[in-house]
C-alpha cells in the first residue's frame, strides 16, 4: 500500500512540475515590435498590414514579404515562411508569431482577422435585397 502511494505521488509531482515548466517555456506573449526586437524569444505581435507597401511572394525562397504596423505605430518588415495566407486581402488585423531577426520580423505563423461579422453582414444584406 505504501509503495503505491509513493509511486503515485512521484508521478503526480513530476507531471505537475513538467507541465508547469513546459507551459512557461512555450508561452508566446503578445508584444509590440519594440519589445520583440529586444528579445530572442518567440512572440506574437498584433497589427495591421500596410496596404500601400510591398506585399509579395518570393518563389525562390518561398517567403511572403510584407510590411506591418503594430499597435504602437511602429512599422516593420515581416518575412513569412510560406505563401500569402488565405484571408490576407480583407484582413483588417493580423497577428504574426515568430522572432525578430536582423532588421525584420521572421514569422512562422500568421493569423488573419477579418472584419466583424455584423459589419460585413449589414453590407451584404443590402446587396441581396
Amino acid at each position: 500500500m505504501k509503495i503505491k502511494i509513493i509511486i503515485a505521488s512521484i508521478v503526480i509531482v513530476a507531471a505537475i512540475v513538467f507541465g508547469a515548466v513546459s507551459f512557461v517555456e512555450t508561452n508566446v506573449e503578445y508584444t509590440d515590435f519594440k519589445a520583440a526586437a529586444g528579445t530572442h524569444k518567440k512572440v506574437q505581435v498584433k497589427g495591421e498590414w500596410m496596404k500601400d507597401q510591398e506585399a509579395t511572394f518570393d518563389p525562390r525562397t518561398t517567403q511572403f514579404i510584407f510590411f506591418m504596423k503594430d499597435e504602437q505605430g511602429r512599422v516593420e518588415k515581416v518575412v513569412f515562411d510560406g505563401a500569402k495566407p488565405n484571408n490576407f486581402e480583407i484582413a483588417n488585423a493580423v497577428v504574426v508569431k515568430g522572432r525578430y531577426e536582423e532588421g525584420y520580423f521572421h514569422a512562422n505563423e500568421i493569423l488573419t482577422k477579418c472584419p466583424s461579422k455584423y459589419e460585413a453582414d449589414a453590407e451584404s444584406v443590402k446587396k441581396t435585397l
Partner: protein, 783 residues
C-alpha cells in the same frame, strides 16, 4: 411561430423535470405519468421546430436571419440541409434534437432498469439548458429585427417591391427581406459538412448520459449498480465522439491544404478533452465492476466528462478565445457567455455537490490489490489519461489563464501539447500492453515477465530496425517501442480471447487500433517530408524520394475554381493530381485545396501555393536619392552617383555626343552587381541605354535625373525597371508553386481509427447484453 414552439418546449421540459423529481421523491405514479406526458410534448415541440427551421431553409425563407445568413438558392440539397447546423442557433438546435431523441430511448432504457425518475429528471434539466440557449439565441429571428436600420420601414411600399412583409399594416410598418442568402462558406461546401457535425453532436449528446446515471446513482444512494447501466452508453459516446474527431481531422487533411490532420486548435482540443475523460472512466469502471473500488473516481469522471463537453462549448462559442485562435466562432454576445458559464457551474456544483454530500455515507471498500494487479495498472493509466486531458485543457485555456495571472493574454506554442502528451503517451502505451497481461488483484511476477517475452522481443526488433534506419530522438524511440509492445501484446492476447469468446475481444481490438493510431502518428508526422517546389510549365522537376513532377497547365472548373494539373512520376508509375485554387467572393480570399495520392504505404500530398504568370511588359519606377537603397523583389538597388566624366570633358558645350551614366549597385545576399544605365545625347537626340542585370532579363533604364550641383548628396534619380519579376528570379513560363509532401504510413492512422471503433462496437454489444440480463436491482431510494 417557431420561437413560440421553442418557448413551449422549454416550459414543457420544466414541467417534465419537476414531475420527474416529484416522482423520484414521492413515488406516486401520477407524477410519473405527468412527467412522461410532458416529456413527450417536449419531444414533439423540439422535433416540430427543427422541422420548421429545416422547411424554412429548404424553401429559402430569407426573411429569417438564420436562413439568410447561412444558405442560398444555389446550394445542392444535401448541403442546403446541412446549413441547418452551420451557425450557432442551428447547432444548438441540432444538439437539442439529438438530446431529445436520445432522451426518448433513455426513457425506455432507464424505465426497464428502474432508474427512470432520477435519470429523466436530470435529462430534463440538460434539455432545458439547451432550450434556454435557443430562447436567447433565437434561430427564428426575423431579419428586420437584426438590421432594423436597413430593413425596417414605414410608409407606402414603392412600386415593384415584392420582397416585403407587413408588420403592422395599420401603422404602415413593413419589413424588407433579401431575395438571396449569404450562402455557405466554401470551406464547408463538401460532403464532410453533411457527416462530421452530425456525428460529433451525437457524441456530445450521448456524453450527457453517463452524467445522468452518475447523478441518478448519487440521488438514490446506489453506488454500485449504476455503472453497469451506464457503461454501454459511455462506450457508445466514446466511439461516436472519437469517430467524429478523426473525421474532422481527415476533413482538414483532405480539404484545407496545410498538410496535416491535427493542429491542436481549441476546437479540436475541446472535443478531445471529454473523449479522454470518457476513456479514463471506461477503464476505472471496469475496476469497479470487478472489485467495487474507484467508486468516487467513477462518479467524478462521469460528471467531469459532461462538464468538459460544456466547457468546450464555452471555449469555442463564447468568443473568449477570440484574439488567439483563427478557429473560434466569435459571435456569441455577452448573454451567451454568462449563460454558458452559469450552466457549467450549475451542473458542476450539482454533480460534485451531491457527490461530496453522499461520500460521507459511502461504504469504505478496502483496497486489496497489489502493484502487480490489473486494478493498479488501470488506475495509473486512467490517471495519466486524465492528466493529459488536464494539460490540454490548460494549454487551450492559456489565454484566459495568463490574462488572469498576468493581466495580458498570451497563447502557447503547439509544441506544448506534444511535449506534455508524448511522455504520457509512452506510459499509456506501455500500460495498454501490461494491463492485458496482469491479473486482477494480484499477478505472479515471474509469470508476468514470462508472458511478456514474445511481445517484448518483437517490439525490440521493431524499434531496433527503426533506430537503425531513421530515428534518433529518444522520446520517439520510446514511444514507438511502447506502441509496438502494446500492439504485439494485444494481438497475442486478443487472439486467445477471440478463440474463446469473440464478444470479449473488444478491448484487445480497441487497443490494437490505438497502437496503430500511435504508430501512424509517429510515421506520418515525424517522417513527413515536406518541400516547396516551383514547377515551370512543361518542365519535369525531380524531388527527393524519387518523384518527378510536371506542371501541365490549368483549366477553369467553374466560375471560382481553377484546377492545376500536375503529372507525378514515381518509378514506372504515372499519376495525375489536380490541386485546386479558388478565389471565393464569399470570403474575398484565395482558398487552396490539395490533391492526395493515396497509396498503401504512404500518401503523396500536393497543395498549391501560388501560380506565377510572368508579365514581361511590367515596369516599375524607383526613385532614389544619392546613396539611397531600396528593395525590389528581394534584392537591394543602391544609387551610388552620376557618372559625369564625359561632361567634364567638355563635350556638352561643343555639341558632341555626351554620355551620362548612373551608377547603380544591385545587391543580393552580399553579392554585388554593378549596373549602369546610360543617357546619351547626340546628334540624333537623346537616347536611353538600358543596363541588364546579369543572370536575369531585368533592364534598368534612366527615367529622370536630378543632379544637385550645390549639394551633390541631394541628387536624385528615377530608374525604370522592366520585368521586375526577373528581379526575384522568376522564370519565363507560367509556374505553379506547390508544397509537396510524402506522408509515410498515414493509412495507419485511418486504419487504427476503424479498428478502434470496431473494438468499441464489440464491447458495446457485450455490455448491452449484460445490462439486459440482470435488470436494475438498485435499492429503492431513501428520502
Amino acid at each position: 411561430m417557431g420561437s413560440w414552439i421553442v418557448r413551449f418546449a422549454f416550459v414543457a421540459v420544466i414541467v417534465s423535470g419537476a414531475s420527474y423529481y416529484l416522482a423520484f421523491r414521492k413515488k406516486e405514479f401520477s407524477h410519473l405519468q405527468i412527467a412522461r406526458y410532458a416529456y413527450s410534448l417536449t419531444s414533439l415541440a423540439v422535433i416540430s421546430f427543427c422541422a420548421l427551421l429545416l422547411s424554412y431553409i429548404l424553401t429559402h425563407q430569407f426573411q429569417y436571419t438564420y436562413v439568410w445568413n447561412y444558405s442560398s438558392t444555389d446550394l445542392p440539397t444535401p448541403l442546403l440541409v446541412s446549413t441547418f447546423y452551420a451557425g450557432q442557433e442551428g447547432s444548438f438546435s441540432l444538439w437539442a434534437l439529438y438530446t431529445t431523441i436520445i432522451g426518448m430511448i433513455l426513457m425506455q432504457y432507464s424505465s426497464k432498469r428502474g432508474y427512470e425518475p432520477e435519470v429523466m429528471f436530470v435529462w430534463s434539466m440538460i434539455l432545458g439548458f439547451l432550450l434556454l440557449m435557443l430562447i436567447v439565441k433565437n434561430p427564428f429571428e426575423l431579419i428586420w429585427d437584426t438590421f432594423p436600420g436597413d430593413l425596417l420601414r414605414t410608409g407606402a411600399v414603392p412600386a415593384g417591391v415584392t420582397n416585403f412583409m407587413w408588420i403592422d399594416q395599420a401603422k404602415g410598418i413593413w419589413g424588407q427581406f433579401p431575395v438571396e442568402g449569404k450562402g455557405l462558406n466554401p470551406l464547408l461546401q463538401n460532403y464532410w459538412m453533411v457527416i462530421h457535425p452530425q456525428i460529433l453532436f451525437t457524441g456530445f449528446s450521448s456524453m450527457a448520459v453517463p452524467y445522468t446515471f452518475a447523478v441518478a446513482g448519487l440521488l438514490r444512494k446506489d453506488y454500485q449498480s449504476w455503472v453497469r447501466v451506464a457503461k454501454p452508453w459511455l462506450v457508445f459516446g466514446a466511439a461516436v465522439l472519437g469517430t467524429g474527431i478523426i473525421l474532422g481531422g481527415y476533413w482538414a487533411y483532405e480539404t484545407l491544404g496545410w498538410g496535416g490532420y491535427w493542429g491542436w486548435d481549441p476546437v479540436e482540443n475541446s472535443s478531445l478533452i471529454p473523449w479522454l475523460v470518457s476513456i479514463a472512466a471506461i477503464h476505472t469502471i471496469m475496476s469497479q465492476r470487478r472489485s467495487g473500488t474507484f467508486v468516487k473516481t467513477n462518479f467524478s469522471l462521469c460528471i467531469l466528462c459532461f462538464i468538459m463537453v460544456l466547457y468546450s462549448t464555452f471555449l469555442t462559442r463564447s468568443g473568449v478565445l477570440g484574439e488567439t485562435s483563427v478557429h473560434s466562432f466569435v459571435d456569441a454576445g455577452m448573454w451567451a457567455y454568462w449563460l454558458l458559464l452559469g450552466v457549467i457551474f450549475f451542473f458542476g456544483l450539482f454533480g460534485f455537490g451531491l457527490l461530496i454530500r453522499r461520500s460521507k455515507e459511502m461504504p469504505k471498500i478496502p483496497v486489496e490489490h497489489s502493484i502487480y494487479s490489473r486494478e493498479f495498472a488501470l488506475f495509473i493509466g486512467a490517471f495519466l489519461v486524465c492528466f493529459a486531458a488536464l494539460f490540454i485543457t490548460i494549454g487551450t485555456s492559456s489565454p484566459i489563464i495568463t490574462n488572469i495571472l498576468k493581466g495580458k493574454a498570451s497563447s502557447i506554442d503547439t509544441s506544448f501539447y506534444v511535449k506534455t502528451t508524448l511522455p504520457i503517451g509512452i506510459a499509456v502505451a506501455l500500460l495498454t500492453g501490461l494491463g492485458q497481461l496482469l491479473w486482477w488483484k494480484n499477478s505472479n511476477a515471474k509469470e508476468l515477465f514470462r508472458s511478456m517475452t514474445y511481445p517484448l522481443i518483437s517490439a525490440v526488433i521493431f524499434t531496433g530496425g527503426l533506430v537503425f534506419f531513421v530515428e534518433r530522438d529518444v522520446a520517439i524511440i520510446l514511444f514507438s517501442f511502447a506502441s509496438a509492445f502494446a500492439l504485439f501484446v494485444n494481438i497475442m492476447v486478443g487472439y486467445r480471447i477471440f478463440k474463446g469468446n469473440p464478444k470479449f475481444a473488444g478491448g484487445a481490438i480497441a487497443h490494437i487500433g490505438l497502437a496503430f493510431l500511435f504508430l501512424g502518428f509517429v510515421a506520418s508526422a515525424r517522417y513527413d517530408d515536406k518541400q516547396t517546389v516551383s514547377l515551370e510549365q512543361g518542365k519535369p522537376t525531380e524531388i527527393p524520394g524519387g518523384y518527378s513532377l510536371t506542371y501541365e497547365g490549368n483549366h477553369q472548373i467553374d466560375n471560382e475554381r481553377y484546377g492545376f494539373n500536375v503529372e507525378v512520376r514515381h518509378g514506372n508509375e504515372v499519376y495525375t493530381v489536380m490541386p485546386v485554387m479558388r478565389y471565393s467572393n464569399f470570403t474575398q480570399s484565395l482558398m487552396r485545396h490539395p490533391d492526395i495520392l493515396n497509396m498503401y504505404t504512404r500518401d503523396f500530398y500536393v497543395s498549391p501555393l501560388s501560380v506565377e504568370t510572368p508579365d514581361e511588359n511590367a515596369q516599375v519606377t524607383m526613385s532614389l536619392g544619392k546613396g539611397e537603397s531600396k528593395e525590389l523583389g528581394g534584392r537591394t538597388v543602391t544609387f551610388v552617383d552620376f557618372d559625369f566624366n564625359d561632361v567634364e570633358k567638355g563635350n556638352m558645350i561643343t555639341g558632341g555626343e555626351v554620355t551620362i551614366g548612373v551608377n547603380l549597385v544591385v545587391t543580393e545576399k552580399g553579392q554585388k552587381h554593378e549596373v549602369k544605365p546610360l543617357f546619351k545625347r547626340g546628334s540624333g537626340g537623346p537616347t536611353y541605354v538600358p543596363a541588364v542585370l546579369p543572370g536575369t532579363g531585368v533592364q534598368f533604364t534612366i527615367v529622370k535625373m536630378e543632379p544637385n550641383r550645390e549639394d551633390p548628396s541631394k541628387s536624385r534619380v528615377e530608374i525604370g525597371v522592366t520585368d521586375p519579376a526577373g528581379m526575384a528570379g522568376k522564370p519565363k513560363n507560367e509556374t505553379l508553386i506547390v508544397e509537396a509532401s510524402i506522408k509515410p504510413y498515414i493509412n495507419l492512422v485511418w486504419m487504427g481509427t476503424v479498428t478502434l471503433v470496431v473494438g468499441f462496437i464489440i464491447t458495446i454489444v457485450r455490455r448491452v447484453q449484460e445490462a439486459r440480463d440482470r435488470p436494475g436491482s438498485a435499492p429503492a431510494a431513501e428520502v
